[in-house]
Symmetry: C2
């Protein structure tokens, strides 16, 4: 078994338990469950109530608990009393505990002689094997495995195998625990538990958001008689068995989850019935088949560096897992349904950091993300109205209805670029999937409504002959209120122009469309008097120097943790790429000299405190031929979730970072241009020193392509039905359907612009 | 009885009940109690729990209740779970209810044939008289009176007189109710009630902030036998009496309050013992004597307009009441101990809007405000440290320890001018009281420590030869983050220069003092290229136009209630005076042309959404000879607390507004220069059309002066022991001790600059 397909926990440490819980999240799109230990940990209660306040999540301290259970069904939201709608943490159903000769398995307290847990990325399965020397002297081998079925998305299947070196009395406990909280708050209005037959538990919960959830668990083990014990918010099945020395004892547990939000109206009983005739092995085989197909569509192979290979696959795994197949009523939340730090809300991450991956590997999946925005136009209209504008204003932090949920006014009020990002995402989906009807069809009204918002949001200052967008926060969240942010202005320009082209279908008058077009033309991009440097915003040069040398004592920790917010806000320090993000999205509009000038100016000012920063920098670095720099950024990104010692995915997976890791490989090192940037599939590869080969499939405008890149050559196979036009080394070629073509690459030095 | 000494409620209306509660607050400095009705109102529970969130108090909506009890002892703070330290609302002791023939007095439900309640400002007494036709047919005259004793500051004395036109069965209830909340939160850790003798209740409460409070109530009435009834958090004494037709029946209630914060270690029992031999009449006479002296030192007499006369006296009344005599461990909170909307915290109001009144009427009272800042240097140091600076940083919202309590980061982080305002206030006290030793004595360390903070807070931008103060909010809170705010820079310059002069006493080295001086010299005041207009901050002209015509639909309500915050923050609209405030404080540094240019530019942009705005505008208008304008601002201010229909003092008295009303009369219409502005006592009177005479006493540099101004002349009487130099009409004169001098004034037209 290659290490490039498995993330391995080699010993249990309480300090990293939460990080592994996040990283080992399993999911089917419909149902997600964090990688908590089946037997749980002592002294880690899951019903603690505490108050989260409006805060900057980036630097927020979370309650110190060793474990954090998480069971999430996308779209199940409730109302937090202070912080608006949040995704609900549902009852925990993983509980499955062996008690041998009266000693309960607890990895911190028992004598564990061997321990290995792994997330198999290709199999989307968590397995654990541990050797436990009980106080009674018995050596017990315990093996757990679990998966959330790709084939039956409502099902989680678990198995525990026990064997001992001598006879032992074993008690098995299997539970559903509904005494859980979400961000310290209890959203359960009603909890009902009951015994189901001889070997089952049913759990019924009504959430304060109004949704009902039903869970059913069934356990199976040879010769067991199960007793049922119920406490106010939990139920446990218990059985006693005699283990004979040297023989395996296997317990299976299956849980199905149904909610009132389900697309297909089926009860948990229906879902359970659907799988009852299938053995664990059969279920597993079906699961693997689904995941095998998923990987085929997107796996990025890297030769030369195991760590980046593993990080790429871990990213792809979570991107595949977190996408809610066929359900356009939700998008993907900032923590990838693996934690509740960002309240399960949807950000601009969706358009800028997630959509490209789906679009270029599995376009229908990108469509549901685009459709989500179209579907939540009503919420966006409400947001606009609440702010006193006509039209539609997308939320900085959206719930499933599109409502603005962000409790921090500086972001909610000022980070308006998200509304333009949505338009960009709709266009990206349409162009990338060669589905132009989409924009003049279901998306048209959305585009017009957002344009109407912009028309009212723009100001015209006395003495100026152009509109201005004042009082905004760009992608760099350390400049909270600025005028004519270059990134925002350019995206708004794009959105207005797009609305002008589809306006009449979307309900706009010709005069309105002309006004969109005129406003778009006038929006300025502020520049230095040298004409080369693009200013992040007007007056950027009047901000204070960031003085990193004096103030950023520990470069291993975020700058924001070491200085007060007021210093961030008055200084030139950037949280993340802003002008460079603009240049990444619109590469054709900026000369190499301009990009290099911007790089030289902004990169030294950038703290990269946001995990969204590194990917953009890596891609721009590749354009500039700064491959070593790009590599440094990739290395930074691969650790975001994998470095469990640093916290990693404790509060959830950084799913946008996962998306940018894919972008770094494909848009950065392979130098692919997106469909927004080029009509012809284009590659300008620049492999990092550590990689000898990079290969990946791409979905391109209804066709499919396989790409293989080494230091010497690039091989492209046209797996579609039509001839493919492709640009490599600045020249455009054609590849017939089913054909492969190979080009020799120039040395990387000569590619430096 | 003249109306100019009484605020009268002529009929009870539920809609204005809270406003009268605030406006009719009685207090001794030590103890304050809102003007709630003795019998309370039905359906107005005082134990409702709710959550206040960090919000802009100016536009916050408060829970709709008809009544809000309030009992405050300055300095008794507890910890609000979300919003930091807040002043605690203590148990309510006013309860005193007649029940006639089984019918309980309730002004909303009973048939009330006459009703009149008044706050006698000169007597600091609330009296009520009502004629009540009971269902049994009896006409009952009920008269209440109460005062918080000026002579015995721990005591509140109440009296109720009943008489009926026929015999009636009367039950009297007198209670202490400890089932109260502060801003919807329960701060009581422990409540203990007990019967005290035959006619008393003792109530002992421990607050979560650690303080202990003891209240004792005693009732007295001829021939009554009192029964004692206790519920978990309240206790009531009840007695039944027979009222004979035509005879008065009088009940007295006395309550004393002692806390663990008291300056003199005396128990409630001690305080009660101190007054037990005194009759109600004796207590009242002592009380009036104290208040008579207070009024002598400050009363402003106006002839020609009753409304402004009353507003002036109401302002003075609350200023006299709210000051915590001899206790420099607290200052005066933003609601003048008459409500808890601003959590009982201390703002820059103290230095800029309150201190001048005390300084020029009763200098020792100003000293306690100055000393409060010196005493809380420790908290200011902690604030600086928490923000990563050396030195001392005063809190935007201070508790009694000086800790920053403001839960809104935009103010807490950016409204740093308060630290310079503190230095200005210390200097103002010293100069106004001719106590220069103060600055080189106890205040020196404070001045040096704040200067050290400024030195680190300043930035030096590349290419500039001067320091800059970046990322600040000036007095105008609608421009939240700006660079080189003129007001702030000038005040910081003042603070640095002052620190340089006393630095060595305060622990600074000569080099440090030189650095203070150099930084002070370099701080810029941004100006328009015309050289005349002072910019509020750099780039002020790049903000959006406020578009009041289109957006400010209802001029009777605040602009901020009608547009979203993001529009306030990106627009030129001002909440309150900013550059004009600078020009008010430093009139000698700006020519009339500059002031007029600033007035013409900023006044039309100013929403006056802050109650602190009008006073500054009135004073500047007087300087510019715009007396009619000044009068409009005075009219606006006099309504702030008096207009009960508009809400008035519902959430507490706008005590800074009270301070500015005094300033408008004295610094505005009388044209007095402060000791910061002139070494010689100077007047440039410009009476408004409505006033035929204005007269007031002034404490000036250890002396006292009486001033009388009519349209024709000004009369100044030197009541001090030394010759007084005085400047009237631009010429300086001398008045010998005990002498009076009269000058003829020019017509107001010729005074227009």
């Amino acid at each position: 078994m290659s290490d490039e397909w498995a993330i391995v926990e080699r010993a249990f440490h309480a300090e990293t338990a939460r990080a592994y819980e996040g990283l080992f999240t399993l999911g089917s799109g419909y149902l997600h469950v964090r990688g908590s230990l089946e037997e749980h940990l002592a002294d880690a209660p899951q019903n603690l109530e505490y108050t989260r306040l409006p805060a900057d999540v980036t630097s927020e301290k979370f309650p110190e608990t060793k474990a954090k259970w998480g069971t999430y069904v996308p779209g199940v939201f409730g109302r937090h009393p202070l912080l608006n709608a949040e995704m609900i943490n549902l009852p925990w159903f993983l509980g499955l505990v062996p008690i041998v000769n009266g000693e309960r398995l607890e990895v911190e307290k028992c004598r564990i002689e061997e321990y290995r847990r792994e997330l198999r990325l290709d199999h989307a399965t968590v397995k654990r094997r541990l050797r436990w020397r009980t106080k009674s002297g018995a050596a017990v081998l315990v093996e757990f495995e679990r998966f959330v079925s790709g084939a039956h998305p409502h099902l989680c299947a678990q198995r525990m195998k026990l064997s001992a070196d001598r006879a032992a009395e074993v008690r098995i406990e299997a539970a559903i625990d509904a005494d859980v909280r979400t961000n310290g708050y209890d959203h359960c209005r009603r909890v009902k538990l009951r015994r189901m037959g001889t070997n089952g538990i049913a759990c019924f919960v009504v959430i304060d958001g109004g949704d009902a959830i039903e869970m059913q668990t069934r356990v199976g083990a040879p010769g067991c008689e199960w007793r049922y014990v119920e406490t106010p918010r939990a139920a446990t099945l218990t059985a006693d068995v005699k283990l004979t020395g040297g023989n395996d004892f296997i317990v299976e547990k299956r849980t199905v989850v149904a909610t009132s939000r389900d697309l297909m109206v089926r009860s948990a009983t229906d879902w359970m019935r659907q799988v009852e005739a299938l053995s664990f092995e059969q279920l597993y085989a079906e699961h693997l088949e689904v995941w095998h197909k998923r990987w085929e569509s997107c796996d990025v192979e890297v030769e030369g560096d195991q760590r980046s290979q593993l990080a790429l696959r871990a990213s792809l795994y979570h991107l595949l897992r977190a996408h809610v197949t066929n359900d356009d009523r939700v998008a993907i939340d900032a923590k990838g349904y693996a934690g509740e730090a960002y309240w399960g809300r949807y950000f601009w991450d969706s358009e800028m950091f997630l959509l490209p991956f789906y679009l270029y590997t599995d376009p229908p999946r990108a469509r549901t993300l685009a459709d989500f925005r179209v579907n939540t136009l009503g919420g966006a209209r409400e947001n606009a109205k609440r702010y006193g504008y006509d039209g539609a204003r997308y939320a900085w932090e959206s719930d499933a209805e599109g409502n603005e949920c962000c409790p921090n006014w500086q972001y909610a009020d000022h980070e308006v670029h998200v509304t333009a990002d949505v338009a960009y995402g709709l266009a990206h989906y349409a162009r990338g999937s060669l589905n132009d009807d989409y924009l003049s069809g279901s998306a048209a009204e959305t585009l017009v409504e957002t344009a109407r918002y912009w028309m009212q949001r723009l100001d015209r200052r006395p003495g100026e002959d152009h509109p201005s967008l004042l009082g905004v926060m760009g992608p760099d969240e350390y400049t909270p209120i600025s005028n004519n942010n270059a990134y925002t202005n350019r995206l708004v320009k794009f959105a207005l122009q797009l609305a002008a082209t589809v306006g009449e279908v979307g309900g706009a008058s010709p005069e309105e469309c002309q006004a969109f077009e005129r406003a778009a033309e006038g929006l300025p991009i502020p520049r230095h008097e040298d004409g080369v440097l693009v200013w992040q915003c007007e007056g950027f040069d009047t901000l204070a120097e960031p003085r990193f040398e004096q103030l950023w004592h520990n470069r291993g920790r975020r700058f924001a943790e070491q200085v007060p917010r007021e210093r961030l806000y008055r200084s030139k320090c950037l949280k993340q790429a802003d002008v460079l993000m603009l240049m990444m999205l619109f590469p054709g509009e900026f000369s190499d000299a301009e990009v290099r000038r911007a790089w030289n100016y902004y990169e030294p000012l950038t703290t990269h405190d946001s995990s969204l920063s590194a990917g953009v920098h890596a891609i721009v670095a590749c354009r500039l031929g700064l491959v070593e720099k790009a590599w440094e950024f990739l290395e930074r990104s691969v650790g975001v979730d994998l470095d469990v010692e640093a916290g990693g995915a404790s509060e959830g997976v950084h799913i946008a970072n996962a998306g940018t890791i894919w972008q770094m490989a494909v848009f950065g090192f392979a130098g692919m241009r997106t469909a927004m940037q080029s009509d012809v599939l284009t590659f300008e590869p620049r492999l990092p020193a550590a990689w000898s080969r990079l290969a990946f499939p791409i979905a391109w405008k209804k066709g499919r392509v396989s790409v293989g890149i080494t230091r010497e050559q690039i091989t492209v196979t046209n797996r579609g039905d039509a001839t493919l036009r492709i640009c490599v080394g600045g020249e455009t070629h054609a590849i017939k359907a089913g054909q492969r073509q190979v080009w020799t690459l120039l040395g990387s030095d000569s590619q430096t612009p």
